[in-house]
C-alpha cells in the first residue's frame, strides 16, 4: 500500500499536506471565530491577479514569482480592506467585495497576455503532486510562522476573538492583531493554493473548525484540534487519492466535508 512513497513527489505531497493542513486548520479557527469565513474566500481570489502580475513582470513562472505575486495581490486587497473599513468609509464585507472583484478583473485582463497558461491552471485548481523542494520549503516556513504567531499571542488571540472591545480595554493590541490575522491568512492561502487551488483553498481553513465547533468547550482546543484534524485529513487523502486514483485537491476537501457531515449528525445535544 505504501509503495507509492518510493516516489519523491508523493513524499513531498504527504509532508506538505500534513504541514499545510495543520497550520491552516489551526489558523482557520481564528478566521471562523472572527466571522471571516467569507473574507478568506474573497482573498483567495485576490491572489490570482497578483500571480499574473508577477509572471508578467518577471517574464516567467517560478515558485518565488508565484509566491510573492500572490502575496502582493492579497496584501494589497487585504490591507486596503482593513484600512477602508477602519476608516469607517464602508463595512468590511462591502469594502472587500469592491476591492477583490476590481483586482480580479484586472487580473483577467493580464491573464490574456500571459504565456504558459497551463502552469497558471495549477494555481487555480492546485497540484500538490507537482510541488518542488523549494515549494515545500516555503510551505514549511509559512506553517512554522503561522504556528509561532498563534502560540506567541495565545491569550491575546482569545480575548481579541471573543470581545474585541473588552480586549482593547485590557490593553490587548487589537489593531495590530487585526493586521496580523489578515497577513497570516494571506500567507496560509498562498500555501493552500498550491495544494488545492484558489477555488477550494478557503475550505482548508473553514471546514476543520466548522467540524469541531459543536464539540469543544474552549478556543484553545478549537485552534489546535482544527490543526490536527486538517493535518490528519490531508495525510489520509493523499493515501486515498493514491489508492483510488482520484485528484488530490478535491479528495482533501471531500474528506473534510464528510467529517463535517458526520460531526453534524452525531453532534452532542444542545
Amino acid at each position: 500500500m505504501f509503495d507509492f512513497l518510493d516516489y519523491s513527489f508523493n513524499q513531498r505531497a504527504l509532508l506538505a499536506a500534513a504541514v499545510i493542513g495543520f497550520s491552516n486548520g489551526a489558523l482557520g479557527a481564528l478566521v471562523v471565530l472572527r466571522k471571516n469565513s467569507l473574507v478568506i474566500s474573497a482573498l483567495a481570489h485576490a491572489l490570482l491577479p497578483g500571480i499574473a502580475l508577477g509572471i508578467l513582470v518577471f517574464g516567467g513562472m517560478n515558485p518565488f514569482v508565484g509566491f510573492f505575486g500572490a502575496l502582493f495581490g492579497a496584501m494589497v486587497v487585504g490591507l486596503a480592506t482593513v484600512y477602508v473599513a477602519r476608516a469607517g468609509l464602508l463595512d468590511h464585507q462591502t469594502a472587500l467585495t469592491v476591492l477583490y472583484t476590481t483586482a480580479f478583473a484586472g487580473g483577467l485582463l493580464l491573464l490574456e497576455r500571459l504565456p504558459g497558461y497551463v502552469q497558471l491552471e495549477s494555481w487555480l485548481f492546485g497540484n500538490i503532486l507537482g510541488l518542488r523542494n523549494m515549494d515545500l520549503l516555503i510551505a514549511f516556513g509559512v506553517s512554522f510562522l503561522i504556528t509561532l504567531c498563534l502560540a506567541w499571542h495565545r491569550r491575546d488571540w482569545i480575548l481579541y476573538l471573543f470581545e474585541p472591545s473588552v480586549a482593547a480595554s485590557m490593553g490587548v493590541p487589537v489593531t495590530r492583531l487585526n493586521y496580523l490575522l489578515t497577513g497570516l491568512m494571506v500567507l496560509g492561502l498562498v500555501t493552500s493554493l498550491q495544494a488545492v487551488g484558489a477555488v477550494l483553498s478557503a475550505a482548508l481553513f473553514i471546514i476543520p473548525t466548522a467540524t469541531l465547533l459543536q464539540w469543544v468547550k474552549s478556543p484553545r482546543s478549537l485552534i489546535w484540534g482544527s490543526g490536527l484534524l486538517g493535518s490528519g485529513a490531508g495525510l489520509l487523502s493523499i493515501l486515498l487519492s493514491n489508492a483510488f486514483d482520484t485528484q488530490t485537491g478535491p479528495t482533501i476537501i471531500l474528506l473534510l466535508g464528510a467529517c463535517f457531515i458526520v460531526s453534524l449528525v452525531f453532534r452532542p445535544a444542545r
Binding site: L33, E163, V166, S169, K217
Partner: protein, 258 residues
C-alpha cells in the same frame, strides 16, 4: 436579601482618599458630531454611580472612553493620579450582554479565567494563585455550579453575573457596566442591584449606564445626568430632581444651556 461573600477575594478595601477617578474637560467628537462636551467629574471608590441620559446623550461613549476604547478625545481621565490608560488591569469594561457571542466556545470558568489574562500577559505561566482568585470570584457570585456550563446555557442574569465574576478575577477597582439591567426579569434585576450595591460597599467604584428611571434612587447612591454635557452630578438624593430630569431629557440644542 442575599449576601455575597465578596470580601473573600481579599482585594477589596475601604474607600481611601487617593482612590479617586478624575475626568477633566473631556471632549469626544465623531467626525463633525460632538458626542461629549467638556465633561468633568471626580469620584472616590465605594460608590455606585448611575449614568443617566437619553439615547445619544453620550452614556456609552463616556464609559467606553473611560475604558480606553476611544482615542479621539481631548481632556484627561486619571485614576489615583495616573493616566487610566497606564493601569488598564484596574478597570473592567462589561459590555451589554446582547453584544456577547454566547456561542463562542467558552464555559463560565473559561470566561472568568480571562480576568486573569491582563495579569499574566499573552504567554505568562498560569499560577496556583490564579486558580485561587478564579475560584474565589466564582464563589463570590455563587457561580461555582455553573463553571462547566457553556455561555448559551445561561440566562441573562447569570451571564451578567459571570461577567462580574470576570471583573472580580481581574481584581479591577473600577467596573464600567453598559446597561446591565437591560433584558433582565424583575427578580434578576433585584439580585443584580443588591450585588452592585454590595460591590460598592466593599470599596469598588461602579459606573453604570442606565436608561430606566424607575429604580434609580434604589440602585445608585450617586448619579451623573448627561446630555452630551454634564447636566448634574452628585448624591442621588440631592440631584435626581424633576428640574434636572427635565434638562437631561430635553431636546438638545446646538449648544445646550445648563
Amino acid at each position: 436579601m442575599s449576601r455575597f461573600p465578596i470580601t473573600r477575594l481579599g482585594h477589596s478595601h475601604s474607600p481611601e482618599a487617593d482612590h479617586r477617578l478624575r475626568v477633566e474637560n473631556l471632549h469626544v467628537h465623531y467626525g463633525a458630531i460632538c458626542a461629549l462636551k467638556d465633561v468633568s467629574f471626580e469620584i472616590g471608590c465605594g460608590h455606585c454611580v448611575g449614568l443617566i441620559g437619553q439615547n445619544g446623550a453620550g452614556k456609552s461613549t463616556l464609559i467606553k472612553t473611560i475604558a480606553g476604547l476611544n482615542r479621539k478625545l481631548t481632556g484627561s481621565v486619571t485614576w489615583r493620579g495616573e493616566a487610566l490608560a497606564q493601569v488598564k488591569a484596574e478597570v473592567a469594561y462589561l459590555p451589554q450582554i446582547d453584544e456577547m457571542d454566547s456561542f463562542f466556545p467558552l464555559t463560565v470558568g473559561g470566561l472568568v479565567e480571562m480576568g486573569r489574562y491582563p495579569h499574566l500577559g499573552a504567554r505568562g505561566r498560569w499560577r496556583a494563585l490564579d486558580d485561587e482568585v478564579v475560584a474565589a470570584a466564582l464563589s463570590a457570585l455563587k457561580m461555582e455550579e455553573f463553571r462547566g456550563r457553556r455561555l448559551y446555557q445561561l440566562s441573562g442574569g447569570q451571564l451578567q453575573r459571570a461577567q462580574i465574576a470576570r471583573a472580580l478575577a481581574q481584581e479591577a477597582h473600577i467596573l464600567l457596566l453598559d446597561e446591565p439591567f437591560a433584558g433582565l426579569d424583575e427578580p434578576s434585576q433585584r439580585l443584580l442591584g443588591d450585588l452592585l450595591r454590595e460591590l460598592a460597599e466593599n470599596g469598588r467604584l461602579l459606573l453604570v449606564c442606565h436608561h430606566d428611571l424607575k429604580a434609580v434612587p434604589e440602585l445608585f447612591d450617586t448619579v451623573l445626568m448627561l446630555n452630551r454635557q454634564v447636566v448634574a452630578f452628585g448624591p442621588t438624593s440631592e440631584v435626581f430632581t424633576p428640574d434636572n430630569l427635565a434638562n437631561t431629557f430635553s431636546a438638545r440644542e446646538e449648544d445646550p444651556h445648563v
